[in-house]
C-alpha cells in the first residue's frame, strides 16, 4: 500500500473528497518552491502533484509552460526535483507526492535508475502525460513493479471500448481530464463531468479525481461533489507566476481545498 492508497482510504473513512494541487518544482526557484510545497498539507492539500520541468510541455497551456521555463532558467533538473521531494520528506512522511511530467527527462536518466531514485526520494506515484497504455512497457509496468503508483489520465475521448485498456495498469487513482484541451484553458462543467466520472467509476474501484479547467473554490466544490476529488494546477501556478508571496499563495490554496472538502 502506497501513501496514495492510504490517503484515499483515510478520506473515504471520513467521507471526505480529496483536494489535489499541482505546482512546478523549482518555480520560481528551488527554495521558494520547497517552502511552498512544505506549506501545502497545512493548506488542506491531500495529494501533492509535483511538476517535473520540461522544455516541450505539449499538453500544457501558457501558465504551466512559463512555470517550467522559470524553473529551468533557475537551474532546475530532474535531480533537483528529486532533491526537493527528499527535503519535503524530512518534514512530512504522510502526504503523497505524485511526480507529473513528460517522459524524456526520465528516459534520459534511465528508467531503472530513475525508479530507484524516485522511490528513495519519497515519491509515491507518477503521471507521465506522453505515455499512453500503448507504451506501458516503457515505464508503467516497471514503476508498478518498483512499488510506485502509475496514475493514468482518462479523457473525454476515451470511449467505452478503450476505457478498460486505460484502466488496466492504472493504480493509485484515475485522473479524469475534464476537457479536450491543454491545462489552464477551458472551464470544466460539473454537469458534463458528472456522467463521465460515473462511467469511469462503473469500470473501476479506484478513486476518480478530476482536473483541468478548475480555478475557483466554487468550481473546486462543484467538481469534487461529482467525483472523488478535484485537482487545481494552473490557477495556483499563475499566482506564483505573478510573484505572490508563499503565504498568499497558500491562503489561496486553502480556499480551493475548503471548496473541495465542503463537497
Amino acid at each position: 500500500m502506497t501513501r496514495i492508497d492510504a490517503k484515499f482510504a483515510e478520506l473515504n473513512a471520513q467521507g471526505k473528497k480529496a483536494f489535489v494541487s499541482y505546482v512546478m518544482a523549482g518555480d520560481p526557484d528551488f527554495d521558494t518552491s520547497l517552502e511552498l510545497v512544505k506549506g501545502l498539507p497545512g493548506a488542506g492539500v491531500d495529494v501533492i502533484e509535483l511538476g517535473l520541468p520540461f522544455t516541450d510541455p505539449m499538453a500544457d497551456g501558457p501558465t504551466i509552460q512559463l512555470a517550467g521555463q522559470r524553473a529551468l532558467d533557475g537551474g532546475m533538473t530532474l535531480q533537483r526535483t528529486l532533491d526537493l521531494a527528499t527535503e519535503f520528506r524530512k518534514t512530512d512522511g504522510i502526504t503523497p507526492i505524485v511526480m507529473m511530467g513528460y517522459y524524456n527527462p526520465i528516459y534520459s536518466r534511465g528508467v531503472g535508475r530513475f525508479l530507484a531514485d524516485a522511490k528513495a526520494a519519497g515519491i509515491d506515484g507518477l503521471i507521465v502525460v506522453d505515455l499512453p497504455p500503448e507504451e506501458d512497457a516503457e515505464l508503467c509496468l516497471p514503476a508498478q513493479a518498483a512499488g510506485l503508483n502509475f496514475i493514468r489520465l482518462a479523457t473525454p475521448t476515451t470511449d467505452d471500448k478503450r476505457l478498460p485498456r486505460v484502466l488496466q495498469n492504472t493504480s493509485g487513482f484515475v485522473y479524469y481530464v475534464s476537457i479536450t484541451g491543454i491545462t489552464g484553458s477551458a472551464e470544466a462543467q460539473a454537469t458534463d463531468v458528472g456522467p463521465e466520472v460515473a462511467r469511469i467509476k462503473a469500470a473501476t474501484d479506484l478513486p476518480v479525481i478530476v482536473g483541468f479547467g478548475i480555478n475557483t473554490p466554487e468550481k473546486s466544490r462543484a467538481i469534487a461533489s461529482v467525483a472523488d476529488g478535484a485537482v487545481v494546477g494552473s490557477a495556483i501556478v499563475a499566482q506564483i507566476g505573478a510573484g505572490k508571496p508563499v503565504a498568499e499563495v497558500l491562503a489561496f490554496v486553502k480556499t480551493l481545498s475548503d471548496g473541495a472538502h465542503s463537497a
Partner: protein, 416 residues
C-alpha cells in the same frame, strides 16, 4: 547488420509503430483514440484503388508529376568525377516535395470527415503546400509557424495568407519549427473532434512516419524507373538533405533493399557540429530520446531537456529526425553526414551558376555533400541528389549572408 542482409529493410514499422526501438506512440490519452482511428483509416486507404486513383490524378494534373530526373551536365563537368543527376521535385506545384504528402493526408482527412486542417511549418514550404490543398478543397486551414521563422520566411507567410490560411506566429521557446509543432499539438488536443493534423515530415506518433514516407516514396519510385530508362541501371549513390527527413525517406525508401546503392542523408551542420550545439545534426550530435510522439535521435542536454537547433535553413532547423532515419543509422543501411551553412551557401551559388537552377537552402546541403564526394569518384559512378525545393523563398536570407542589399535597386553590394 549481418542478420539484416537476409531481411528486408522495407518491412517497418512493426505493429507498435516501431522501427527497431525508434518510433512509437508517445502522445497524451486525448490524442490516442484519434491516432488509432487515423491508422485504421490509412490502412484502409492504402489498399483502396480509388484512393490511389485520386492521388495519381492529382499528382499528375495538379502537382505536375512525374518530376524530371535531370542530368546536371555542367555541374558534373565542373566537379570532374561522378555523374550527377538531380531529382527535380522543386518543379512541383508550390515549389517543393511537401505537396506529395499533403495531398495524401488531406484526401484522408476528407475521408474521415474532418473539416479543419492544422499544420506546423518551418521554412513555410509545408505550410504553403497545406494552405494550397486546403484552398483547393475548401477546407479551413491553420498553420503554426515559429515567430523567428515568420520573420525569415516572409514571402511564404504572405503566400499562405493569400491562399486563405490563418498563420499563427508561435512565440514559445525560440520560435522555430519545434515550438510550432508543440503549439500544433496543443491545438489538436483542444479541437480533436473536427481537426486533422497534417504533419509535414516523417516524424510524430505512429502512423505518421510511415504514412508520410509512403506518400513521399513517389520520389524514389519515379527516380528508379527514370534511372533505368536513362542509364539502364541503378544509381550508385543517392543523397538527400534531412531536417525531419521526409524528402530523404521518399527518395531512399524504394532503394533500401537495393544493396548496391549507397544511401547518404545530409544533416544541417549550422556553424559546425562541434561548436556548442549551433547545428541541427541530430544523428551526428544527438542521442535517442522521446519528443513529439516518437522516440528518435534528439539534440538534448544531460537532463533530457531539448535543445534548440540552429541552421541557416529554416526547413532543417529541428532538433529531431524521423525515427526511420534513426533506425537506418543504427543498422548501418544509410550513412549520415553534416554540412555547414557556409558549405551549403557555396553549393547554392554553384548550382545557380552552373545549372541555372536556384535551389532551396535545404537541398543545397545535399548538393554540398555531392560537391565533396563527386570529384573523388570515377566518371561511371552515378549519383542522384534530391533537389527537393526551389530557392525563391531563400533569396533574402542568402542576400543577407552574401552582404547584398536587396533594398538597393542598383543592385550594388551592401558595403559599396
Amino acid at each position: 547488420m549481418a542478420n539484416d542482409l537476409f531481411n528486408s529493410f522495407m518491412s517497418g514499422p512493426d505493429e507498435q509503430g516501431r522501427f527497431g526501438i525508434f518510433g512509437g506512440r508517445f502522445v497524451s490519452e486525448t490524442l490516442m483514440p484519434l491516432i488509432l482511428s487515423l491508422e485504421e483509416e490509412y490502412e484502409k486507404a492504402k489498399t483502396d484503388p480509388s484512393f490511389w486513383a485520386e492521388m495519381d490524378d492529382l499528382w499528375a494534373n495538379y502537382v505536375g508529376r512525374p518530376s524530371p530526373l535531370y542530368f546536371a551536365e555542367r555541374l558534373t563537368e565542373h566537379l570532374g568525377g561522378a555523374k550527377v543527376y538531380m531529382k527535380r521535385d522543386e518543379l512541383n506545384h508550390t515549389g517543393a516535395h511537401k505537396i506529395n504528402n499533403v495531398l495524401g493526408q488531406i484526401i484522408l482527412a476528407r475521408r474521415m470527415g474532418k473539416t479543419r486542417i492544422i499544420a506546423e511549418t518551418g521554412a513555410g514550404q509545408h505550410g504553403v503546400a497545406t494552405a494550397t490543398v486546403c484552398a483547393k478543397f475548401g477546407l479551413k486551414c491553420v498553420v503554426y509557424m515559429g515567430a523567428h521563422d515568420v520573420r525569415r520566411q516572409a514571402p511564404n507567410v504572405f503566400r499562405m495568407r493569400l491562399l486563405g490560411a490563418e498563420v499563427i506566429p508561435v512565440t514559445s521557446g525560440r520560435g522555430t519549427l519545434k515550438d510550432a509543432m508543440n503549439d500544433a499539438l496543443r491545438d489538436w488536443v483542444t479541437n480533436v473532434r473536427d481537426t486533422f493534423y497534417c504533419i509535414g515530415t516523417v516524424a510524430g506518433p505512429h502512423p505518421y512516419p510511415a504514412m508520410v514516407r509512403d506518400f513521399q516514396s513517389i520520389i524514389g519510385k519515379e527516380a528508379k524507373e527514370q534511372m533505368m530508362k536513362a542509364e539502364g541501371r541503378l544509381p550508385d549513390t543517392i543523397i538527400a538533405a534531412i531536417g525531419g527527413g521526409s524528402n530523404a525517406m521518399g527518395l531512399f525508401y524504394p532503394f533500401l533493399d537495393d544493396k548496391s546503392v549507397n544511401i547518404i542523408g545530409v544533416e544541417a551542420g549550422g556553424k559546425g557540429v562541434n561548436e556548442k550545439m549551433e547545428h541541427c545534426a541530430s544523428l551526428t550530435g544527438g542521442r535517442p530520446g522521446v519528443l513529439h510522439g516518437n522516440r528518435t535521435y534528439l539534440l538534448q542536454d544531460d537532463d533530457g531537456q531539448i535543445l534548440e537547433g540552429y541552421s541557416i535553413s529554416a526547413g532543417l532547423d529541428y532538433p529531431g529526425i524521423g525515427p526511420e532515419h534513426s533506425w537506418l543509422h543504427e543498422v548501418g543501411r544509410a550513412k549520415y553526414v553534416s554540412i555547414t551553412d557556409k558549405e551549403a551557401l557555396e553549393a547554392f551559388q554553384l548550382c545557380c551558376a552552373t545549372e541555372g537552377i536556384i535551389p532551396a537552402l535545404e537541398p543545397s546541403h545535399a548538393l554540398a555533400h555531392v560537391m565533396k564526394i563527386a570529384p573523388e569518384l570515377p566518371k561511371d559512378h552515378i549519383i542522384i541528389m534530391n533537389m527537393c525545393g526551389r530557392g525563391d523563398k531563400d533569396i533574402f536570407t542568402v542576400a543577407k549572408f552574401l552582404g547584398f542589399d536587396m533594398s538597393d535597386t542598383e543592385g550594388r553590394d551592401a558595403d559599396d
